[in-house]
Each structure stands twice: as C-alpha cells, then as structure tokens.
Symmetry: C2
Subunit: 219 residues, 2 copies
DNA sequence: AATATTATTTAGACAAATCTAAATAATAAA
DNA sequence: TTTATTATTTAGATTTGTCTAAATAATATT
C-alpha cells in the first residue's frame, strides 16, 4: 500500500494520541496535526477505506493492526534519523525533530536497515524514546515517572515527553539532558514548582509545567 | 521562496536539459520528467510567475539566474546524499539515484552543510559528477570525452552520463567503476563496438551505446 | 505556396488535501 | 427533560498537479 506523506503523518499522530487503546477524537487529532476538524473527518474516511483505522461517524478513531504496523515503521524511521542527526552530524536534540519529520517519509527498507546498522542499531532516540526494530518491536521503556511525581530524591533523566524546541532549549540552558543526574531539594506547594540540584551547578527551581515533561527514574 | 517537490524536480530537470544555454522544449522536459507536455505547459506558467524561468509561448524554457541558483542547490543536496549513501551506508552506485531523488527535497541549509562537512566536503559524487558548493560553485570538470570518441589508448573512467540502474548494473558486472583504468584494443567499424581490456581481466567488447555513456580521460 | 506533420497550448476534468460556513449529533446544564 | 453547549460531519469551494482530447502554431514536405 502506497501512502502519501499526509496519510503517514495522520497515522503517526493517531498512534501517538492513542497511547495504548484510547479512542482518538477528531478535535484532538486536528489540534495535534495543526489542521481543522473538517479535514480530519475527510482523511478519516480515506484511512478507513485503506483499512488503516477503525472509524465510525461520531465514534472516534483507532488504528487497525495494519495501521499500527505502518505507524511503527514511520516512528522507526523518524527516530533513527534523529539518532543520525545527533550522533553523526552533531545536531542538538531540539533541532532534530523537524528535520526527522521530513526524513521519515523516505520509504526504503534497505535505507533504514543500513542506517540502523551504521548507527549501531540504537534502541532509544536522543529524546529517550524507544526505537522499534524492523518488525515493529520496541524495548519496553524502563519504569519511569514524570519529575513532578517522582518519590525518590536522587533521579536520572530518561526522556522528555514534550519535544517542542522551546522546552528542549530551556533544558539545554539549564544543562539538563538525557542521563543527567539530579537531586530533588524541595517541592513548593504554592505553585507546585520543584527545586533541584545538578552536580557542579547551583540549585534551580523549575515550574510544574517543565517538571511534568521530564521523565526520570531513581538512580 | 517556498517550492514544492514537483517544482524542484522541474527546475532540476530544466537545468539538466539546458546544458549551458540551450532552450528546453516542452516535449523534452515532459519526456525527462515522465509526464505529459500539457502538464509541462501548466507548470511553465507557474515557474515563470515565480520568476524561476524565462518562458514565452512556443519559444521554450530557460532558467532565470534565480532558477539556476535554486537548481544548483538541489543538485548539491542530491549529490551529497549520494556520497553519503555510498561512503557511509555502503550502497552501490546504481541504487542511490532514486533515494537521493527523495532526500534532495529535505530543505535545510544547516543539514546540508553539516552533511557536507561530515563527508569531508567532497567535490564529486559517486557517478563522477561535480558537487556545487554552498554558493553554487562547481569544480569545472576535467576535460573528458565519451569512450567512443577517445583517441588515447590508455584511459581512466571519470563519469557516466546515463545513471539508469540498467547501465550501472552492467558496468558493475564488467567491473567498471569510477577510476577504473582500461586499454582500448580495437574499434569495430561494423557496429561501432569497442574492445577494451581491464587489468587482471580478459578483454571484453562493449556496444556503442555503452561506450557513449562512459566518460574517460587519458591516464 | 499549399499541405502535411509535429510541437505546443488550451479547455475541461479529476484526485488529493485542505478550508469555511452551515447542519447535525452528542453531551452537559438547567 | 428541555435547552444550551460542544463536537463532529457535510456541503461546497480552493489549490496543486496531473490528465485527455481538441485546437492552434510552428515546421517540414511536396
Ligand atoms: Mn512527517
Ligand atoms: Mn525523538
Ligand atoms: Mn527529486
Ligand atoms: Mn549522481
């Protein structure tokens, strides 16, 4: 089945919003793809026709098993290109998402398997997200929680859930990256901000919004 | 100016067919792009509107200076990706053209300049074609002739003009690649075929059609 | 110079992807 | 359980890139 770039982007976004088994709503998908609900309805009909999604009027969207397979391939391509950009071309993690958003649409099994080999078959991307293998199998992510809900005091950063340039640039400025170890000093109840300390750096206070998007596990 | 993939492909093909200063005809461009003359006429109007080409009804097409600039950027991207595929991912020269045809449309100055650095700023691609630099400057190709017109006896292969998978696969089978040294044994007048000999290989006879597409210079 | 052939353009249509505005369905509030 | 609000879909339009068939222009042939 030959999918257009638009169709691939829809499938990928549906996968992302599904998070397991939840039904994806028209509005949520429109927001995610920065398009209009009417456009989503149009595309939903096409993707249903192609048997990539299950969809009934007013009932929301879920991926079919074929749709899931396709989504995982696209995600694989996306994340491998991200690894390439960071590991080989020395891009930083906030610059790569947009580029990978385009590179992911070059469809060639051979290209991607060679790229993966070339990169040493990585299993996580520069944002800490797992990379599906050629069969769509992903390493189950190690148990992790968002920083605002972590109990332990000594933590290591494992991923970021929001990959906006703005957040990643903020984290760069504060020297926080994947693998960074930090210690929670205090929770401030007033605004749910959190004071943390990185080795060799003075303590800083980060907002709840930032903390929610940093995934951590006990060191 | 933001060009679509289709527009980029047109500009690149016009550049290729122009070969210096010749006017490009509607039919030639349609054939090159595997489309119909009517479609070319439609697109010519759009590219003229965008000031990328000079075009008057029935008078053919030439690139404007802006069009030339754009074409050289696309060619740069195409050839750098070809280098990447061969040098880093171990593709062979007949597989890379199609992939580069897609990769060339990822527009990012930064990506391409980093890629170029990463590859050691190569000046020729795996087919022997020169790679424009960031300003569109290309190394003037060293004087070369097609194998069927070469006078010298000892020659070295510098480029191939036809990059079809079929020709490149044929050359692979005969162990002919860029830099291969060969000796012309005989010209056969009957069908203009040429007998050549590679070091450590028995002599072989190649057709005029093949010889026309192999570029060489005296060793 | 008239006629035939070839090249190019136009007219009109279509598919993909999108949009706005209006209609309808689902859900929440009164 | 009506009524209001929100979510979703439909109707109809637009843009981009393409096509076929017909018309016209340019060129070649007689
Ligand atoms: Mn994308
Ligand atoms: Mn990522
Ligand atoms: Mn292309
Ligand atoms: Mn090439």
């Amino acid at each position: 089945m030959n999918l257009s770039i638009a169709e691939e982007n829809y499938v990928k976004s549906i996968y992302k919003l599904q998070e397991g088994d939840a039904v994806v709503t028209t509005n949520a998908l429109a927001y995610e793809l920065e398009t209009k609900p009417a456009s989503v309805t149009d595309m939903a009909k096409k993707l249903k026709e192609k048997k990539l999604i299950d969809y009934e009027k007013y009932k929301g969207i879920t991926l079919s098993s074929e749709g899931r397979r396709v989504a995982l391939q696209i995600i694989r391509r996306h994340r491998l290109w991200e690894c390439f950009l960071v590991d080989k071309l020395a891009f930083s993690w906030e610059e790569i998402h947009e580029l990978a958003e385009e590179l992911e649409h070059v469809r060639s099994e051979k290209l991607i398997s060679r790229l993966s080999d070339y990169l040493g078959n990585p299993v996580i991307d520069p944002h800490g997200d797992p990379i599906p293998d050629a069969h769509g199998k992903m390493a189950k992510p190690r148990p992790q929680t968002s920083l605002d809900q972590a109990n332990a005091r000594r933590l290591v950063v494992t991923a970021v859930t929001d990959q906006s340039t703005a957040l990643l640039a903020f984290l760069n400025a504060k020297n926080i990256k994947l693998g960074t170890q930090l210690e929670v000093i205090a929770h401030y109840e007033y605004d749910n901000s959190i004071e943390i300390k990185l080795k060799q750096h003075p303590a800083i206070t980060i907002s709840e919004q930032v903390a929610r998007n940093i995934m951590v596990r006990p060191v």
